[in-house]
């Protein structure tokens, strides 16, 4: 009887400790991947070599994961736009390369996708009127 009470007590205590630690440990788990990536990045200042942590979601583009492309290239930007705004992408792909390049560099500078969408329509009208 005494042994049973003791076992119950231990289980209850362990459960309470687990519940108390849960939010903090989940937060730690979520951010540890990010912290490892940050630490690897800063080490490059001293080692002059970048050792990317394996399977990190913070190295390279998250958009890359989404779209299979890379924002650094025109093809990658096209993939990114297709995933974010398929409607605008229909007009974007018909634009001359110079306009597409302009839109890509504008996005990299401002990060403002709404403005990029407006500009796609503005450039489409410009091209039509030429």
């Amino acid at each position: 009887m005494k042994g049973q009470t003791f076992t119950h007590d231990v289980i209850i205590r362990s459960t309470l400790i687990w519940i108390a630690c849960q939010p903090f440990s989940s937060l730690q788990a979520a951010s540890s991947d990010y912290v490892s990536a940050v630490k690897a990045d800063v080490e490059e200042f001293t080692t002059h070599e970048f050792k990317a942590p394996a399977e990190s979601k913070w190295i390279g583009s998250a958009d890359e994961v989404l779209s299979g492309g890379e924002l650094g290239t025109l093809e990658g930007f096209s993939q990114f736009l297709l995933s974010k705004s398929p409607g605008s992408h229909i007009f974007y792909r018909k634009l001359p390369k110079s306009y597409q390049e302009q839109l890509r560099s504008d996005y990299l500078a401002t990060g403002d996708l709404d403005r990029i969408k407006d500009d796609i329509f503005k450039y489409t009208r410009e091209v039509k009127n030429k």
Partner: protein
């Protein structure tokens, strides 16, 4: 030569010697003045800080001053993070699984002349629209005289009165967040010694509160996803060591864009351990005109305190950003504070 002539010559010689001595004294003073001038100019970073000449060698102190310039929006006459109907900037603090959100409106004015209003450098007006601080307004005045501390006037809605406060401490939490007053506004380039530790490409995406990424949120609409736009941009590593004794950090390393001087990331160290990370996503306000590359705005700030796991995320939607408006300087006065509705 007669006596008179000799006396005349002696007097003239003495006079010219006196004159030479006076000239020497004046020159010395002038040299001293010229030597001191750039130093006093360096102390206060204001709107007149020029963008470094192309190809010029840049040192760590200059990088620190340029970062201060960008972070205080000196490229603009005025800069507002306003309220656009129901959309506002939001500060989310997450700790131990619970979240607290505060909606804020902020207006900064850098448009003060040389002899204007007690030599004001800038005025910053913040209005809180949610939480316990709802209806509270804060007007912060910064002066050109570096020895003069900032003035804090706070509108307390429950009392319907303005109270003056002394400048908060650098290490005080800003809005209960991971960010301190020093991080957001108070820390000046001369509070630290600076050293450039190299140049490299930026390798990682900027942080976010992962569980909220891309989700709809009150006040700000859809929250952004992590920013990876700055990958592969060239950055300086700026190591800044605090001059304060027994400080909460020993040194910090900032990643500073070599062209725009946007500081994308700052890492804080104490006793050799990384203790805090602050990431800032920056955007250029206008790509249509050829302007100052430092004319940037914050898209979001993310902070992670590794000592306790707390996170903060301040998100500023593009539609609430406004700059170089025709608002007169009288907007940044007590009158506006008194008009705040709870």
């Amino acid at each position: 030569m007669n006596r008179k002539m000799i006396d005349f010559c002696r007097t003239s010689e003495n006079k010219s010697m006196n004159l030479a001595h006076t000239n020497l004294k004046t020159s010395k003073l002038l040299v001293l003045f010229l030597l001191l001038m750039p130093m006093s100019g360096q102390a206060v970073v204001g709107r007149d800080l020029p963008y470094p000449a192309q190809g010029a060698d840049i040192n760590a102190d200059e990088v620190a001053r340029q970062v201060y310039f960008a972070n205080h929006f000196f490229a603009f006459r005025n800069f507002s993070i306003k309220r656009q109907s129901r959309t506002m900037s939001v500060l989310i603090n997450s700790s131990g699984g619970s979240e607290l959100a505060t909606a804020v409106e902020r207006h900064l004015n850098n448009n003060y002349g040389a002899d204007e209003e007690e030599s004001l450098l800038s005025r910053d007006l913040a209005i809180f629209h949610s939480g316990k601080m709802r209806g509270t307004g804060m007007l912060v005045s910064e002066y050109k005289d570096e020895n003069k501390s900032k003035d804090y006037m706070v509108w307390l809605p429950e009392l319907r009165k303005i109270r003056r406060f002394s400048q908060p401490s650098y290490e005080d939490a800003w809005g209960g967040s991971v960010f301190t007053f020093g991080d957001v506004t108070l820390r000046k380039p001369e509070d630290e010694t600076h050293e450039l530790i190299g140049k490299k490409t930026f390798r990682t995406c900027l942080g976010t509160i992962e569980s909220l990424e891309g989700k709809h949120y009150r006040y700000s609409g859809k929250l952004p996803e992590r920013s990876c736009r700055h990958l592969n941009k060239e950055v300086y590593g700026l190591l800044s060591t605090t001059k304060f004794d027994n400080w909460w950090y020993d040194y910090r390393i900032s990643y500073v864009d070599t062209k725009s001087f946007a500081d994308y990331r700052t890492l804080y160290y104490k006793d050799g351990e990384l203790i805090k990370i602050i990431d800032r996503d920056w955007g250029l306000v206008n790509t249509q005109e050829e302007g100052d590359p430092r004319a940037l705005f914050w898209k979001y700030w993310y902070g992670l305190d590794l000592r306790n796991g707390s996170e903060s995320w301040a998100v500023i939607p593009r539609e609430v950003v406004e700059y170089n408006t025709d608002k007169g300087n009288n907007f940044w006065t007590e009158k506006t504070l008194r008009k705040i509705k709870r």
